[in-house]
């Protein structure tokens, strides 16, 4: 939020090209493959150094799956993921150097920490595994520095997760992700399981850390307010596809895609009286053509036949975008803007 445009270069940190992920769906007494769940469909995305990108969408939109693909927890079905230009191999082996630079903070801090491991040990472990601090005292110093960075007292190193509150656990999870000095931090619903006031503190912490370290964030959330409070660029997802990608200011002030409008109104951020004609279809049986057409007030026969591509349709507002340069706005709709 506070990086000047010159600090953000145009080289990309992370690039996704045509990334898709399908899961086979097994049913029946013999567990035969009955169909495929298209969790992520043909996603292109760019994250620049220092940028905070938000991924917003509702159930089944694929945002969490996308995070797992980037974190290399799951292999992509098709498409490429490049980190700093290098293609990330799809198998198990990811070079430790890259592994260190892409880290993930999970949604539920209670289950993302090993209940039988003390905080200090959990923070020191990544250092041990990557041989980043060779002596025990070096590790100790680092552990205390990490705790300090996330606003926790040093004595917490001796505690177990269940002795901490939800917010404190999330701080530990963030500290652990920072232990390896990553460049890209993936945050999956970072405040969804926390009370609002605790969540606010975590968001503040994330903002502070962003300016302290050279970090990029990919923030995933179903909550537009959370996304809007911290992100520079926002991608809206629906049924596995990105339907709109724009600078935060542009997105909130002048949304293009009908689904974005619906989301904004549902979140109370816009009062346009948008019509909603249905519910999210199941990812097992997505509608033909445009995935949003079953609910879209603009839908016509074209929408049934052709799935609109995500296209750059140029900036629209005279208001300069947050990054200070011309960002093309992308939208996947036949009729918008």
């Amino acid at each position: 939020m506070d990086k000047t445009p010159s600090e953000r270069s145009d080289q990309s940190l992370l690039e996704l090209h045509g990334v898709s992920k399908q899961f086979p769906y097994r049913a029946g007494p013999f567990r035969r493959i009955a169909g495929f769940i298209h969790a992520v469909v043909d996603v292109d995305l760019l994250i620049r150094p220092g940028e905070i990108v938000g991924l917003v969408g509702e159930s089944g939109c694929g945002k969490t799956t996308l995070a797992k693909l980037i974190a290399q927890l799951e292999p992509v079905t098709t498409g490429e993921i490049r980190y700093r230009g290098e293609l990330l191999a799809n198998g198990r082996q990811i070079p430790p150097a890259i592994r260190r630079e892409i880290q993930l903070v999970f949604q539920d801090p209670t289950s993302s920490l090993d209940p039988r491991q003390r905080v200090g040990s959990a923070l020191a472990e990544p250092l041990l595994v990557h041989r980043l601090a060779t002596s025990a005292s070096e590790r100790d110093t680092t552990v205390h520095r990490l705790l300090d960075q996330v606003g926790l007292p040093s004595r917490y190193a001796r505690r177990y997760p269940h002795e901490l509150s939800g917010g404190e656990r999330q701080r530990v999870a963030i500290a652990r992700a920072l232990a390896l000095r990553p460049r890209l931090l993936l945050l999956d619903e970072p405040v969804a399981s926390l009370d609002v006031s605790v969540g606010a503190q975590i968001l503040e912490l994330l903002k502070t850390l962003h300016s302290q370290e050279r970090l990029s964030y990919l923030v995933i959330s179903h909550d537009l307010r959370v996304i809007g409070s911290i992100c520079h660029t926002i991608a809206v997802m629906y049924l596995g596809r990105i339907v709109e990608l724009a600078d935060a200011v542009q997105l909130f002030r002048q949304p293009w895609h009908p689904y974005t409008e619906l989301l904004l109104e549902s979140a109370g951020l816009r009062s346009a009286g948008v019509e909603d004609r249905g519910e999210i279809p199941s990812p097992l049986h997505p509608p033909t053509g445009c995935p949003f057409r079953t609910r879209c007030p603009l839908a016509e026969s074209l929408c049934e036949r052709q799935d609109p591509e995500l296209l750059e349709k140029g900036p629209s507002l005279p208001v300069p975008s947050q990054t200070g340069r011309q960002t093309g706005r992308l939208v996947a709709c036949h009729f918008r803007p």
Binding site: E58, V196, A200, G228, S229, V249, S266, A267, D276, S282
Partner: protein, 267 residues
């Protein structure tokens, strides 16, 4: 005044400790009024909602004191059999997780009919007709076909609509909705809110909406009550509480809502 809660206190005993989940709470709900109860986790709002009809398990809970005046009777002191008639009958509940509130091995139709039978005296055919009518009323398409569906065949939003249908089957005076949309997507929440508003007007229903989401309560409630650690710290009309909060905690709660920088002009 439909419901008058006076100095209700509920205590929990766990492992030698006594905790007051609800501490001397007084709250009124008028006829046809929607009251929103907001608070964070541990505020006692859910316990309060359950305590109204003595749904809190005793033990480990104990209702220490208080009155709940509903239709001229103190619900905390009426005999059990009367309480069973009130619960689900004149005071209905809708909870957060529709997946676990519906019986997975019974069709939707059967569960609805069972509900109708329990609280009204109608013959089987009439109950079935009413069930179909209710499903349509809550916005479920092709209600007659849906009667033979099992819960797992329904989407989350539809299940919640079915729960609402079951709740209004007995034409209750008060609906207690505890986190009714927390498990739902925000666009679905919008639909459920519209449904509740419509039903509230058509049936002249009073609603007690319990939630941690100020956004939800803002859309539905005429009045808001804020709870913190068992105590009611502020009450007032929705507009007033949200724009001119008097209590420090309310101010803190409102300030903690994430602010969309792009809309605030703070870049």
């Amino acid at each position: 005044m439909l419901l008058e809660i006076r100095r209700l206190t509920v205590e929990f005993q766990t492992a030698g400790e006594h905790v007051r989940a609800v501490d001397e709470v007084s709250l009124d709900i008028g006829q046809g009024e929607v009251v929103g109860l907001v608070g964070e986790s541990g505020s006692g709002k859910t316990t309060l909602g359950l305590a109204i009809t003595r749904l809190v398990p005793e033990p480990p809970a104990r209702i220490l004191q208080g009155e709940v005046q509903f239709d001229g009777e103190d619900l905390l002191r009426v005999p059990r059999h009367e309480l069973y008639q009130v619960r689900g009958g004149r005071i209905a509940y809708v909870f957060q997780e529709p997946s676990t509130s519906l019986n997975p091995v019974m069709t939707v139709g059967r569960q609805l009919v069972e509900m109708i039978d329990l609280h009204t005296t109608s013959r089987k055919a009439a109950a079935r007709t009413r069930a179909i009518e209710l499903l349509g009323h809550v916005g479920i398409p092709a209600p007659e076909e849906r009667m033979t569906s099992y819960p797992h065949e329904l989407s989350g939003g539809m299940k919640q609509r079915v729960m609402i249908a079951m709740a209004i089957a007995s034409r209750p005076r008060l609906l207690v909705a505890d986190e009714p949309t927390t498990a739902l997507d925000v666009t679905l929440e919008r639909q459920i809110v519209a449904l509740l508003k419509r039903l509230q007007q058509e049936l002249r229903l009073s609603i007690l909406v319990i939630s941690h989401s100020i956004h939800l309560v803002k859309q539905l409630a005429d009045r808001i009550a804020v709870m913190k650690e068992g105590r009611l710290v502020e009450q007032g009309s929705t507009g007033q509480v949200l724009t001119q909060p008097r209590h420090e905690y309310t101010q803190h709660l409102l300030a903690a809502q994430p602010k969309v920088a792009a809309l605030e002009g703070t870049l």
